[in-house]
Every structure is written in structure tokens, then in C-alpha cells.
């Protein structure tokens, strides 16, 4: 699959598999198009070439009605949480259930409380999104992502900007929900230790290509210098510390 924004090539003929029932991580430096990849999978963007298939359906050849039907089987956790700010936590989670089912309110209440209980926020049901901490907002968004019992959940930078406790909670939740709900998870992140601790398979993206892939252990032991620099967080290496410029002495001595 290839995708460009204007003249800038974001993905250059990449190919990847997301196995059912596993946690697959997409990692890479900022600006490599990780979030764009999730939008392509969700059908919000269209690739220039190639195709994206989910359960045998080519996402971009589906009619709007069929795409919406497919999206009911996908959950997505946005980086910002994307909670609707004018309704409370309970109504945010009830929103997709009310829209897509004919369940009565008592059943919806039970479902919402179960989803909230799974993320540990049953007691926060009456709070407004503005009253939640960043970690809590992401957990509520996680509960909303699983509201319709999807088969696949996509997590966009779930650990960014989280304190260690919230980070630990989110790491644990992603792994445990994947197992208990028999989900297929895609985690897009550049938080290396957290993502590696829960992933079954990792794709490393850079410059529009997949530069490495494999199980977390295999990537940790990789000899590839770029992979090593990214995983170990080394400041200098194949990705240089300095932005391209003339030599420092020459630059300093110039008038």
C-alpha cells in the first residue's frame, strides 16, 4: 500500500499483517505516519495504491453503509481520547450503544457499567470529560472503544503524556482486554518499553517503509543499527543528532 500527502510520500509500498487475537505494535519516530496508518485502516483516508483488507473486505471498496457496518466491529482509541465534551462519562459510553442498538435503558445502563468497571472507572460515570485526568479520559475512551464489542481495537499513542501509574494501568488494560475479550489489537506508539512489554509482533516504520519487524525479543537482539538506536533511545546514530548543517567551526567563525 502506498499513500502520499501532496508531494510527500508517507508510505511507499508497505505491506503488513495484523494477526487475529494478537497485539500488534506499529512503532517509529514522530511524523512517520503511524496515526495516518490507523486512519487508512479505519477507512478515513484512502491509499493511493494497494488495498487494506479486514476480514476479507477491502475497506476502501466498501459502500458508505458497509464501511459503517465494518466500523461497528472496530474500536479506536484516539490520542486525545476524543470524548464528546458536552455529555458525561456514562453518556459517552452509552452513545454508540444507543445509536446502533434498540436496547432499553436498563440494559444500556448495565452494559455501560460493565464497560466502565473493566477500566476501573465505574465510580466516575457522572463526571464530565473536563473533570477527568488525562489517564482517566483515555480509560473512558477505551471503555467506549469496546462498547460495541468490536473484534479489533486500534490504540493511537495510548501512553503519551501519562504518569507512571496511568501508564501502568493502560499497559495492563490493553493486554488484559485483548485476552479476555478475544480482540485483535493494533497499538501505535513510540514508547518503547511499554509497547514491547505487551506486543506479540512489532513493525518499525521509518521514511515510509517498514525498516524492521518481528517479536519484541528478536528486535531487541537485532544487529540493525537503526533498530538498535530506536529501541535503546540513543541520541546519535543512523538518525543523526544534528540537523543537516555546515561544520560547527565554520559556522561559528563566520561573520
Amino acid at each position: 500500500m502506498s499513500f502520499s500527502r501532496g508531494s510527500r510520500k508517507i508510505f511507499d509500498n508497505i505491506s503488513l499483517d495484523i494477526p487475529r487475537g494478537k497485539v500488534t505494535a506499529i512503532m517509529g519516530p514522530s511524523g512517520t505516519g503511524k496515526t495516518t496508518l490507523l486512519k487508512l485502516i479505519g477507512g478515513q483516508l484512502k491509499p493511493d495504491q494497494g488495498s487494506i483488507c479486514m476480514d476479507g473486505n477491502n475497506v476502501h471498496e466498501l459502500s458508505r453503509k458497509d464501511l459503517y457496518r465494518l466500523r461497528k466491529r472496530m474500536g479506536m482509541l484516539f490520542q486525545s481520547g476524543a470524548l464528546l465534551t458536552d455529555i458525561n462519562v456514562f453518556d459517552n459510553i452509552a452513545y454508540p450503544i444507543r445509536e446502533h442498538t434498540d436496547l432499553d435503558e436498563s440494559m444500556i445502563r448495565s452494559l455501560v457499567l460493565m464497560k466502565l468497571n473493566a477500566v476501573g472507572l465505574r465510580g466516575a460515570r457522572d463526571l464530565m470529560p473536563s473533570e477527568l485526568s488525562g489517564g482517566m479520559a483515555r480509560r473512558v475512551a477505551m471503555a467506549r472503544a469496546i462498547a460495541l464489542d468490536p473484534v479489533m481495537v486500534m490504540y493511537d499513542e495510548p501512553f503519551t503524556g501519562q504518569d507512571p501509574i496511568s501508564m501502568g494501568v493502560l499497559v495492563n488494560l490493553i493486554r488484559s482486554m485483548n485476552q479476555s475479550l478475544h480482540l485483535s489489537s493494533i497499538v501505535v506508539s513510540h514508547d518503547v518499553p511499554e509497547t514491547m512489554s505487551i506486543s506479540d509482533h512489532i513493525y518499525l516504520l521509518s521514511g515510509g517503509k517498514i525498516v524492521a519487524e518481528g517479536a519484541p525479543d528478536a528486535l531487541t537482539n537485532s544487529d540493525d543499527p537503526w533498530t538498535q538506536q530506536f529501541i535503546a533511545g540513543q541520541p546519535d546514530g543512523p538518525v543523526p543528532f544534528h540537523f543537516e548543517a555546515e561544520p560547527v567551526m565554520q559556522d561559528l567563525l563566520q561573520e
Partner: protein, 260 residues
């Protein structure tokens, strides 16, 4: 020289392209409109935020405009001994022009800017994308109720503006400059034609309402999701909305009252 021509051409093409995008956007909203009627609570909520919350500014502005009109009419008419015709001038000005136009301008500033800011913020915080991914069409749930509510709210606000304007004029004419109360009301009643004056004014307000909310929701949806982009979109809504009201007012007046 060629560069300048090229630049002008590019700008013209950009404007036409944007107009096309806005038209397609409105068409998409209109397609989803039947679904909005199934959920009247969405329309009621938007009627409150676009209509009820604009009411105070309309009441205050309407009263003062009516009072000023009466005062100015008195200063002019008294020289000809025709000051008893104040009500005719106040009522006709309000119903034909000032009612729909000033209400439209205030609506663009108050409700239009709020709509753009709200939708722009929903876009920048990924709420619209979130709805899309929940298989919920934001056109139907977010845009269409707002367009419909704005379209319904402006004629009602215009009618209220006209009514309080006439009352404001009454205050100045009867209690301020001493025109006989019966003359004020009877002349107002006798000289106003329901179709020519009142209905034409209301038709204007319906057109203005649709255009203002169309501009407001399009600018919000099309805004660059940054604080600067949102500010620019809000400004564009007020500027384009106000200019559209004034431009369309001329066009509609020419069609309704003139022989152009």
C-alpha cells in the same frame, strides 16, 4: 505582469473551488436531514444554543434600534408637521430592512461564531473523527441539527426584533415626544401590508438564516485544527456571514420591492 495575472487567476480558482466545496458540504447535510427529524431532541438542544441564547442581544438591540428610529424620524418629520407619521417610518423600516438585516448581523456575530468555534474545536479534539469511527455520521448528528436549528431560529428572532423595535419606537414617540398613542398604533396598522412588508421581511430572514448557518458550519468543519486556524475560521464566519447578509439584502430588496 504575467505573475500578477497568474496570482489573480489562482485566487479566483481558489474561491470557486471553495464555493464548490461548500456547496457539496451543504448538499451532504441536506441528504442527511430526514434522519434529524427522528431525533427532535437534537434540534431542540441546538435551538436553545443558537436561538434562546441569542435572545438577550436581540431584545436589547431591537429596543434601542426602535427608539433611535423614532427619535430620528421625529427630528425630520417635525419640520414638516408630519411627526404623527413616526410609527409608519419605524414599522416599515423595521419590517422591510432593519429587522432581518440587523438580526442577521447579530446572529452571525453571536450564534455563527459560536457554531464555527464549537465545530472547529470538535474537529481539533478529534470528536468528529471519533464519531466517524463509531460509525456515526457527524453530518447527520452534528451539522444537520445545527443548520436546521439556525434556519428555524433566525425568523423567530427577527419577528421578536421587529416587535420590540416597534415597542421601543412607541416608548419614544408616545412617552418621549408626545405623539398620541392611538395615532401611533392606528397609522402603524394602516400602513403596513402583511404580505409586502411583513412577509417579505420574514422571507429575507429565512434566506439569511440558511446562509449564515451554512457558512458557520462549513467554516468550522473546514478549519485548520490549530488555535490560529480556529480563530481565522471564526473571523471568516463573521465577516463572510455579515457580507452575505448585506449583499443578499440588496438582491432580495431589488427583487421584492424594485423593478430591477
Amino acid at each position: 505582469m504575467l505573475d500578477k495575472l497568474q496570482l489573480i487567476g489562482q485566487k479566483q480558482l481558489a474561491i470557486i473551488s471553495r464555493l464548490g466545496q461548500a456547496t457539496v458540504f451543504l448538499y451532504q447535510i441536506l441528504l442527511t436531514m430526514p434522519g434529524v427529524f427522528i431525533r427532535p431532541s437534537l434540534i431542540v438542544k441546538q435551538l436553545y444554543s443558537t436561538g434562546v441564547q441569542t435572545l438577550v442581544i436581540i431584545l436589547v438591540a431591537g429596543t434601542f434600534v426602535g427608539m433611535v428610529l423614532a427619535l430620528q424620524a421625529y427630528y425630520v418629520l417635525v419640520d414638516f408637521g408630519a411627526e404623527e407619521s413616526i410609527s409608519q417610518m419605524v414599522v416599515l423600516s423595521l419590517m422591510r430592512e432593519l429587522g432581518p438585516v440587523i438580526t442577521g448581523l447579530l446572529f452571525a456575530g453571536r450564534a455563527g461564531s459560536a457554531l464555527t468555534a464549537e465545530i472547529g474545536l470538535m474537529k481539533s479534539t478529534e470528536q468528529l473523527s471519533g464519531m466517524e469511527m463509531m460509525a456515526i455520521d457527524p453530518m447527520q448528528r452534528v451539522m444537520a441539527p445545527r443548520v436546521l436549528a439556525g434556519f428555524m431560529a433566525l425568523p423567530i428572532l427577527t419577528a421578536i426584533f421587529m416587535a420590540v423595535g416597534v415597542l421601543g419606537g412607541y416608548l419614544v414617540a408616545v412617552h418621549g415626544v408626545g405623539i398620541y398613542e392611538g395615532v401611533y398604533w392606528s397609522l402603524a396598522q394602516a400602513k403596513v401590508d402583511f404580505y409586502t412588508d411583513l412577509m417579505n421581511g420574514m422571507i429575507k430572514s429565512v434566506v439569511f438564516g440558511l446562509v449564515i448557518v451554512w457558512i458557520a458550519v462549513f467554516e468550522g468543519h473546514d478549519s485548520v485544527p490549530t488555535s490560529e486556524g480556529l480563530g481565522q475560521a471564526t473571523t471568516r464566519t463573521v465577516v463572510h456571514g455579515s457580507l452575505a447578509v448585506l449583499g443578499l439584502d440588496f438582491l432580495l430588496t431589488a427583487l421584492m420591492f424594485g423593478d430591477i
